[in-house]
């Protein structure tokens, strides 16, 4: 699991409202950035497809380390950008709540955590490719693993601030108890980083335009050079 989803009943009603309101603000900002919610049809179709593929990919168990499921949220950020990506993760969280993979009352908090992954995934990938000029695999690995590590700490902070309902521990003690959650997220985040690296490498070979890049023209040794028509 690349990140833990919080289930219904973990927080009190006050914190459910607080995080839901915060997530509503984030989604509102995303909608405003996308032109006050008036999305072009191709963008709607692409966002929907991203949600569907994310869901389909999540159902596959990769037979390494005893079985791992991935969420691919940083990859969604790389492919569709932070604003549309935020809408995608909200939709995924609604689907997930329907099947018990995260609670209905936790859609807000889970969306906040996932939005961090989407935004950081996008920003780090673009920065790595455009300013650091790294290869696609390295950029994909760095974006997903850093995004998931940061989101793990965000999740821990949210749980520590909200406190677990029914626990008599203080916020500081709750924070100490969250290291298992953080460690698990970071380890699987590194693994998801590798997978994301391979996926963007694959996409870069077959459809670089999906990554917002131009196709690279390589001339291998022994390969015929492009024809040059010249009179001189």
């Amino acid at each position: 699991m690349a990140h833990i989803h919080l289930e219904d009943g973990a927080f009190t009603i006050l914190w459910v409202f607080v995080w839901t309101a915060a997530a509503a603000v984030v989604i509102l900002v995303a909608l405003l950035r996308l032109g006050r919610g008036k999305l072009a049809t191709p963008r709607l179709a692409i966002a929907s497809m991203c949600v569907a593929v994310g869901f389909a990919a999540f159902q596959i168990e990769i037979p390494v380390f005893g079985g791992v499921h991935l969420n691919l949220t940083p990859l969604m950020g790389i492919l569709v950008g932070p604003s549309l990506g935020s809408l995608c993760v909200l939709t995924i969280n609604i689907f997930s709540a329907a099947i018990g993979h995260g609670g209905w009352s936790m859609i807000g908090v889970n969306t906040l955590i996932n939005t961090v992954e989407v935004v950081l995934g996008y920003a780090i990938y673009r920065f790595s490719r455009e300013y650091l000029r790294t290869r696609r695999f390295a950029a994909g690995f760095a974006s997903a693993s850093i995004a998931l590590t940061v989101s793990a700490f965000v999740a821990v902070a949210i749980v520590a601030i909200s406190e677990i309902q029914g626990s008599s521990l203080t916020r500081a003690e709750t924070l100490t108890n969250m290291w298992v959650l953080a460690l698990g997220n970071i380890i699987t985040g590194l693994f998801e980083g590798v997978v994301t690296g391979y996926i963007v490498s694959f996409l870069g070979r077959v459809r670089p335009d999906l990554l917002g890049e131009k196709a690279e023209v390589k001339v291998e040794r022994g390969e015929a050079l492009p024809e040059v028509t010249s009179d001189g």
Binding site: A45, F55, G166, M178, Y198
Partner: protein, 274 residues
């Protein structure tokens, strides 16, 4: 072609939809609006209830509701895996650190580690909360036809999130089938037997990468088709939700009254001393 799910512990949307469309029971015949309202109320109960025996009663009630829908219990238990995993991961250290009487202990690396009664109660408490909500949610989606879910989603979710939700719901089946086909092809060529984490990971990445490429190509075609048919940013809903009857109102009023009592006893009883 018969389709199979690639995970036993993640609910398969095809199976969920199959039960909703093809089964009949008293819960299937219930008004979708009533079931949706009950889902909201159950989630509120899950958050507000405090006493463990009331939470146990709520969990049992949701399981009975699931069974009344004539849905398979074995499937539900298998699908409990993920919520249980999430709750245990979140609360595992509370088992040992929550103040209370030690009920079991062991020595690890020279340190005494013990499970406390309050720690165990907390984990059970969180499990009951999560599973009650999951059971009712699955019952709702396994007994409510897609057309009704679509109407409720279009009324509840703001535009364009409702459109993304409805489109992705339809695309999920096709995309899952496509990924399953690739996996079947890989297994039929003994691809599943390939050892090595790196090789497995790269193979998985190529499958997902291919799914994304196909998904984007399909999205481009679908968008053109939608525009050609005059899509204006809204899906016309031809289906209407059935009108609520007195029995539906009676159920919602009764459960809401119970929730009001629980809310009052938790948050306001100290103000009046009752």
């Amino acid at each position: 072609m018969a389709r199979k799910s690639y995970s036993k512990h993640i609910p398969d949307f095809r199976l969920v939809t199959h039960y909703a469309e093809n089964r009949t029971s008293i819960v299937h015949r219930m008004n979708p609006k009533t079931k949706a309202a009950l889902l909201v109320l159950v989630v509120l109960f899950v958050i507000i209830l405090q006493q463990p025996y009331l939470l146990a009663a709520l969990l049992i009630a949701t399981i009975l509701f699931y069974l009344a829908a004539r849905l398979p219990l074995g499937l539900l238990i298998g699908w409990y895996s993920l919520p249980v995993f999430f709750v245990v991961t979140l609360s595992i250290l509370f088992l040992f650190s929550e103040p209370g009487r030690q009920i079991a202990s062991t020595r690890l690396l020279g340190t005494n580690i013990g499970i406390t009664d309050n720690g165990a109660l907390l984990v059970i408490d969180l499990l009951m909360r999560a599973l009650a909500a999951v059971t009712f949610s699955l019952t709702f989606f396994m007994t409510t036809k897609y057309t009704y879910v679509a109407v409720i989603a279009s009324k509840v979710l703001p535009n364009p999130i409702d459109i993304i939700f409805l489109l992705s719901y339809r695309f999920t089946f096709e995309t899952s089938d496509e990924v399953a086909d690739v996996l079947d092809a890989m297994h039929s060529r003994s691809g599943g037997l390939i050892k090595g984490a790196s090789r497995q990971t790269r193979m998985f990445a190529n499958i997902v990468g291919l799914a994304f490429v196909h998904a984007f190509e399909r999205a481009e075609r679908i968008a053109k088709a939608m525009e050609a048919r005059g899509f204006s940013g809204r899906f016309p809903m031809t289906e209407r939700l059935p009108k609520a009857r007195w029995a539906d109102y009676a159920i919602i009023v009764t459960v809401s009254a119970a929730l009001a009592v629980v809310t009052y006893s938790r948050y306001f009883s100290h103000l009046t001393g009752l």
